[in-house]
Symmetry: C2
Subunit: 416 residues, 2 copies
């Protein structure tokens, strides 16, 4: 007997038939004698509809009211799922964020989970703990994506927050594992739409998954992986529609026996590049550039500064999210007098391709293989950034598919 | 400066444009210096959609989960209305049932309001009371129709419950008045669709409105009128779409100077009649009939038992809601051996027409006018029931319009 958390995303609960299907998946685990907490997203399309209404009423809306409106989507699914479970004889009840309570920061719209009180619900509610109910054989159906702020108002965790809810609930309940059911059957060596020979990974280390997620693989939300890594929650990614397919287990790197140098290839098209030409090569200039960007709330990703040939003037290039390019340019141009540059250029037709693998640490020459492979295909590398377990390069958007396919072969990731 | 509660029904908040219109009506009261709490229903159609989903998943659903699903409708409207208010510069925040908290019984799906705590919110929330916020000039946007049960789960008050929420909030806040905005501009002497000469009433006594509501006038929900009467909350019924039209004030009968014998004519087509022929005229037979009906949850309305010509056998007729006719017949037939009747007949083509007026108490002969008027039109009276301030008759459904029009004239209610 195990205690497990099962999480179902929006496409898995998109209509009543799918909710009924989810109920059968849950029942199977219950019939195996497991204690089960289910975390559900809003029905596919609902969140977008609600967000649309809020934005149409007021682009500058109160984030607290946004949360009141948007959190209703998961509330509906939680209730419907509990009803679907009861209809097939499974004892179940819904839990909303404020009922658990899943306490978060007051940063409405993108709140961070502070604590899930497993030991005590709000004062009047002590005897009825989720854990107690699980032990009595009742399935807990938790509304994902939502929590409650210190002032007792509803919060949401930001897009993809239901994954994070699920992992946090699993951590709080000390669950044996957290199964994330989604519309793909696991984590792949790369995007199978680009590389048909991409293989499903049986296991992936938390650190690798974190890089995969933040570098563009959209299977899991970055924060949910972080939470799983911090609390060492074993997470499985599975298909709702083909639950026998095996899935991918996220685990400690020690649990992975064969460590290839590269585990996966990620890419992202959401990139834009800005170059400042002939800035003065002296202390303080970086602060003059990145201070205004930080003030404008722009996330800068890669940065490269050339060695200046004359020791006085040089070029600096950085990347940011493509959606933020306009605001980034405006912030730089407003700070032009302080920075002092000769010219500024930007390029929104760039993409980032990354190789990821914990094995990289033990295998020298991994980056060299990447550079050589791209060079052989005639792909120019514009910017490079590295960490202990990944190498990212910025290239022209036109070559993304070619680069990913070539690297997938070069690192011996192609399936049979 | 007054403290007022404004309640808007589903058609008044049916889409974003109407919610914006509601915001302007609220702003007008705020600009007059009033403290305002707004109570909103779900957008028209939403509740039916949610109820439909629940029923489709399981006809025998858990009422607690039904409430979780259905209460989301008012949650969305409350958030959107607060956003629409902020967008035109009105300081506003939403309050959900559990946040106020509006405490109810645990009778999910049709909960009764137990208490609205104005003095203390749940422990952690003490400093932020609705009343305090109203005094600071913040508009409270309350999600109608919903509350919270003693075990901290969401409840709903049953259909039309938002009116009741509004009156209860007005009572708890000791508001100067409660304005119910709806799609008609007040309470009429009778249904204007039947009698074009029907007049809007400037004032109506609580007791009269209670009879009007329970006898078929659908402007206000019966329970909201009861709550208003008990707590002496002055209630106005107004049109959302023609707010200048004046409306109707519900008040103490002492506040009504000119008391006509009859204030209004109500009718209901939701009636059915059952007659038991030749039952034994002896003690205990009524209990044998109405016991099984009560056990089946059927509300019996009018009852008439003829004097038996021979002192041994007689006929008994009663009415119930037309939707419950089948179940009522089944309950009687199952109890046939205990009751002992010769024959049973039913008629679903009947309707109830009622005259209502607190002036009736002081004017003798009011009922006689009714009987004579119907007789002159050749309308047969099947059953009669009376109270201190109303007379109801059961007639063939075919004559409803004719009866209502004739009575409206006979009691001098026709407008100019």
């Amino acid at each position: 007997m195990a205690k497990i958390v099962m999480k179902f995303g929006g496409t898995s609960v998109a209509d009543l038939d799918r909710i009924r299907h989810v109920a059968t998946l849950v029942k199977r685990e219950v019939d195996l004698g497991n204690q089960v907490a289910v975390v559900v997203s809003a029905m596919a399309g609902e969140t977008n509809k609600l967000v649309g209404w809020v934005r149409e009423l007021s682009p500058l809306h109160d984030a607290r009211e946004y949360d009141v409106v948007v959190a209703s989507g998961e509330q509906v699914t939680a209730g419907l799922t509990a009803i679907a479970l009861a209809a097939i004889g499974v004892n179940a009840r819904s839990w909303l964020g404020w009922q658990m309570p899943l306490k978060t920061s007051a940063m409405h719209g993108a709140a961070r989970i502070e604590a899930i009180e497993v030991e005590g619900m709000i004062e009047s509610f002590k005897p009825k703990l989720i854990n107690e109910r699980l032990e009595q054989g009742q399935v807990a159906v938790v509304a994902g994506f939502q929590g409650v702020a210190p002032d007792n108002r509803i919060t949401t965790l930001g897009r993809g927050g239901s994954d994070t809810s699920a992992v946090a609930v699993a951590a709080a309940l000390q669950a044996d594992r957290c199964d994330i059911y989604t519309d793909v059957d696991g984590v792949y060596t790369t995007d199978p739409r680009i590389v048909p020979k991409a293989r499903r990974l049986e296991k992936i280390a938390f650190e690798e998954m974190l890089e995969m997620a933040s570098l563009g693989a959209k299977v899991l939300q970055t924060r949910s992986v972080e939470t799983a890594m911090v609390h060492r929650v074993p997470v499985r990614v599975l298909s709702t529609f083909d639950a026998g397919a095996g899935g991918t287990l996220l685990c400690d790197e020690d649990d992975i026996v064969e460590k290839k140098p590269v585990t996966g290839i990620a890419y992202s098209r959401d990139e834009a590049k800005i170059t400042l030409h002939r800035i003065s090569d002296q202390p303080g200039v970086a602060a003059a550039i990145f201070g205004p960007l930080a003030d404008a709330g722009i996330n800068v990703d890669m940065i490269v500064q050339n060695v200046s040939p004359d020791g006085r003037r040089t070029d600096l290039t950085f990347t940011c999210n493509r959606n933020e390019l306009g605001r980034a340019m405006a912030a730089i141009e407003a700070a032009a007098p302080t920075i002092g540059y000769k010219d500024i250029t930007s390029d929104a037709h760039v993409a980032k391709v990354s190789i990821i693998g914990i094995g990289m640490r033990a295998h020298p020459g991994v980056a060299q293989t990447m550079f050589r492979t791209l060079s052989e295909k005639g792909i120019n590398i514009q910017v490079i950034s590295t960490s202990e377990i990944k190498v990212s390069v910025l290239i022209s958007e036109d070559y993304v598919e070619l680069a990913v396919r070539a690297l997938h072969s070069a690192y011996d990731l192609d399936g049979p």
